[in-house]
């Protein structure tokens, strides 16, 4: 299908925000501000209550940026391996640690500055063996940084009850007292409330944007989506981020109405799985150029940054519908307790990427339903050596999909260690997969 295309008008807004974000973290001390570091999955609305000059650095997107710049990534990985860190640990984490160990901070344009900016505190979560230790060791490497981690091991959203929510809320209350103590600042509940509203707005709006990609032709392709979804991984509780997502939603909706697509020629629609090999995003371009194949998204791209209804109440079916914001749910947040309860419940119930970490069964249903809802022809799964958490059930999901007559291809790699990727073999897998389905190269048409 020949498609009208045009560049995204708000592309530069997202790019500039990301550049400013990393620069702000670097220069926070010059402005008398506070730096904190933690997982992209951390409850990032909480530190907002410390003031408007509080700047985060989330580890996974930083590790992915390192991976994108192969040479810097290799330096990070080799540096941290010389310190005795095993090669089979999380790729993001090793890049992050390696960056600290080299005392070099990478900016999104690929330039590095020294020294690596030390955070005032680490604030993260425990969701897997990696996240449980990431910031403990980072703190050691940085010569000691106060570190707080929230345990979220309460099970999937559809099994949530008051006891489980309270377990997390109690930790968040405790974290606020801890932050006040280590920063010497008085906590501002109004800023927290504002951040909590913005978080839900950003995540639910991203989910609505993802839904728009069900259209044919697809208005977005996943390689570009990586540059868009990332704002929800670096600072989703910033009202400016929520505004940018609204702007993006309006533009993508307009593209759908006008039939504007992401590719000039769309003949094949597929999903991906797992974090991508960040050093080799050319895989996506190869599929586009050679086969007119558009990647519509993944449970990673959609689920990490989006708020979704997820499993139904009986735990039998996955529902890919945007989660409600406080306004849509008819909830008014007026104090700290309500804000903490909202953010705890919203994340535990609607953060799609947390749900399947509790159960392989959920991930199977989630992936299968995405293939159906987005009218995908197939899925290409990354057997990702760089993430135990995500890769734990990849082959189980693959088998489930094959049994349900979904065409699946797998290739091996690593989201953040370029040494683990075999480019020629991956292209061979893609060619074999496409040819086995009778998909012709565009040049052969």
């Amino acid at each position: 299908m020949e498609v009208k295309v045009r560049p995204l008008e708000c592309w530069n807004d997202f790019k500039k925000y990301r550049e400013r974000y990393y620069k702000n973290y670097l220069e926070a001390k010059d402005k008398g501000g506070i730096r904190w570091a933690g997982s992209a999955w951390a409850f990032d609305a909480i530190p907002h209550g410390l003031g408007e000059d509080v700047y985060p650095l989330t580890g996974e997107p930083y590790g992915a940026t390192c991976a994108f710049f192969h040479d810097f990534s290799r330096q990070c990985l080799e540096t941290i391996e010389r310190r005795g860190v095993a090669r089979d640990l999380c790729g993001y984490m090793r890049n992050y640690w390696g960056s600290i160990a080299q005392n070099k901070y990478l900016l999104p344009d690929g330039t590095t500055v020294e020294p690596f900016p030390k955070p005032d505190f680490n604030f993260t979560i425990h969701i897997c063996c990696t996240h449980a230790k990431w910031y403990h060791y980072a703190a050691e490497l940085e010569g000691g940084v106060p570190t707080y981690a929230v345990d979220i091991s309460v099970g999937p959203g559809y099994l949530l009850d008051d006891k489980r929510i309270n377990y997390v809320v109690k930790q968040l209350n405790d974290a606020i007292s801890w932050m006040e103590k280590i920063t010497g600042r008085e906590y501002d509940d109004e800023l927290l409330i504002k951040a909590v509203y913005a978080e839900a707005d950003s995540m639910s709006t991203w989910a609505r944007i993802c839904k728009l990609n069900q259209a044919k032709p697809a208005p977005l392709e996943e390689k570009s989506m990586f540059s868009l979804y990332v704002l929800n991984l670096i600072n989703r509780s910033d009202p400016e981020v929520a505004k940018l997502y609204h702007k993006l939603y309006d533009e993508v909706e307009s593209r759908v109405k006008r039939g504007i697509g992401a590719l000039t020629y769309e003949q094949f629609r597929f999903l991906t799985d797992n974090p991508p090999p960040w050093a080799f995003l050319k895989v996506y371009r190869y599929l586009e150029k050679e086969y007119g194949a558009v990647s519509l998204g993944a449970i990673y791209t959609f689920g990490l940054a989006g708020g979704w209804l997820g499993m139904d109440e009986k735990g039998e079916k996955w529902i890919w519908e945007p989660a409600p914001t406080p306004e849509e749910a008819g909830v008014e947040i007026t104090n700290r307790e309500e804000a903490l309860r909202w953010t705890a419940e919203y994340n535990l119930r609607y953060r799609a990427s947390w749900q399947h970490e509790y159960s392989h069964w959920i991930r199977k249903l989630e992936t299968y339903q995405m293939i159906k809802d987005w009218n995908a022809d197939a899925i290409i799964m990354h057997i990702n050596r760089g993430c135990e958490l995500w890769n734990l059930s990849t082959l189980e999901v693959r088998d489930y999909l094959v049994k349900n007559n979904i065409p699946v291809a797998t290739y091996e790699g690593n989201m953040a260690d370029p040494r683990d990727f075999d480019e020629a073999r991956t292209f061979n897998v893609i060619d074999s997969f496409m040819q086995s389905m009778g998909i012709e190269r565009i040049s052969e048409k």
Binding site: V402, V408, V429, S432, F433, S436
Partner: protein, 256 residues
């Protein structure tokens, strides 16, 4: 109409010439040299000679194999997966699971009752389940390649071999030799190790009868025996054409 299927493998380059009745009229199998294009020319000349025809008689060239790019005059290219599936289905129409073990790669291909590819899996960056593993082991045992497979069938017992890697396996074989373990037992241990690796790839797509093994290692009776035991099912080696020629045959079939 005559179609030439050319399979440029990492160790051997194979050519199959097919006429419009799908009859094989000539084949060749030439060691792949450093200069792939020169090897392709040699292999093609040999097949043409066997068929008693000239190059001008060929209507279509279809290339496959890791070095398919080295056939600049090819009219089309076929991936190894599809070539293996097509070729195996042609010679064994009841096939559901194709296992190909070449010099540097192994793969499993699932085909349906019409010969369409349903699924496939490739060995990932590992030589342990390939023909080069055998080459390395034969060097250590100092036995001719032809004897190595048969020797395995004479083994009186099983010797466990833990290595899943060519490099570590070599040191394990050296240890076994130092322990005076008879060569047939070592041969079987090596074949079992390869079969274990290959079977794990095949299980990714699911084992469904009939299972057909193709590629150079299908000529090794010791390996085929180990693979049967490992999979717990009959494994067939097509006898109408040498098993290493089947991907080239698949390529030729796609051009008809």
């Amino acid at each position: 109409m005559i179609v030439a299927g050319i399979d440029v493998g990492s160790k051997y380059t194979k050519v199959v010439l097919l006429n419009e009745n799908k009859e094989i009229i000539g084949t060749s199998n030439v060691r792949t040299g450093i200069d792939h294009q020169k090897t392709v020319e040699e292999a093609l000349d040999e097949a043409l000679k066997a068929a008693g025809i000239s190059r001008d008689d060929i209507n279509k060239f279809v290339a496959t194999g890791f070095g398919k790019i080295s056939v600049p005059f090819a009219d089309s290219e076929l991936t190894q997966v599809v070539a293996a599936g097509k070729g195996a289905y042609f010679v064994w129409p009841k096939v559901k699971t194709v296992i190909e073990v070449g010099a540097e790669e192994s793969r499993a291909v699932k085909v349906d009752e019409n010969g369409n590819i349903k699924d496939f899996a490739l060995a990932d960056k590992c030589a342990a389940g390939t023909g080069s593993f055998v080459d390395a082991m034969v060097r250590y045992l100092e036995v001719p390649l032809e004897e190595f497979g048969r020797m395995s069938l004479d083994a009186k017992g099983e010797v466990p071999m833990n290595a899943q890697c060519v490099i570590f396996a070599e040191s394990e074989v050296v240890s076994l030799l130092h322990d005076n373990v008879p060569k047939p037992e070592i041969s079987r241990a090596i074949h079992d190790a390869i079969a274990d690796r290959v079977a794990s790839i095949a299980r990714r797509v699911g084992i469904e009868d009939d299972v057909v093994v193709i590629g150079g290692l299908a000529n090794d009776v010791g390996f085929v025996d180990s693979l049967k035991r490992e999979l717990g099912t009959e494994v067939y080696v097509p006898d109408k054409i040498a098993p290493e020629l089947i991907p080239a045959l698949g390529a030729a079939l796609s051009g008809l």
